[in-house]
Amino acid sequence: AQRVTQPEKLLSVFKGAPVELKCNYSYSGSPELFWYVQYSRQRLQLLLRHISRESIKGFTADLNKGETSFHLKKPFAQEEDSAMYYCALPFGNEKLTFGTGTRLTIIP
């Protein structure tokens, strides 16, 4: 069964330090993976998608099929990065399954 695991519920990082939010998945086939973010008092929104190979707000995520991971990284954390982050994996044709989320806090 498809599953997404985010092992860290909470992560605190100093401003300017590198950030890595972990995501592991179980999936048979070639997965498409996504990161969603929820800033304080805002709605859940798409941050980036694996298929686009994009960098959004300085974040990147590389799919590692050998390790079945899709970790989210940013070299220098900023205070505005504090938020809840969810890794997501499609299953079926139209649904997304989400991880339990990691709350990132950037310490000034």
């Binding site: 997404v4 709605r43 859940l44 499609p90 339990t100 989320g101």
Partner: protein, 117 residues
């Protein structure tokens, strides 16, 4: 409005009461999803519509949960005889064509927080 709109934002119900949660998706969005998010958890899929057709309701936790989208636009999630374990944030999301799995972009509402006493 430009985004997905949900109402009510907050609902307190006594155990056994029926509740109805409304979702108004982005105009023109074909697909509509309901998710349930319990405290400290990620969103869990409940059901999915394409236009007025409910194509998947495999995530509905019991027959007390019912969703409809009769005209392919506004959707209502109804919970009958609410129980304490139904307490959660209910998120509605919509997406345009093409297939979600190709783009992954769901547009979420702010959610309806249900508390069952």
């Amino acid at each position: 409005g430009a985004g997905v709109s949900q109402s009510p934002r907050y609902k307190v119900a006594k155990r056994g009461q029926d509740v109805a949660l409304r979702c108004d998706p982005i105009s023109g969005h074909v697909s509509l999803f309901w998710y349930q998010q319990a405290l400290g958890q990620g969103p869990e899929f409940l059901t999915y519509f394409q236009n007025e057709a409910q194509l998947d309701k495999s995530g509905l936790p019991s027959d007390r949960f019912f969703a409809e989208r009769p005209e392919g636009s506004v959707s209502t999630l109804k919970i009958q005889r609410t129980q304490q374990e139904d307490s959660a944030v209910y998120l509605c999301a919509s997406s345009p064509p093409p297939r979600l799995a190709a783009t992954g972009e769901l547009f979420f509402g702010e959610g309806s927080r249900l508390t069952v006493l």
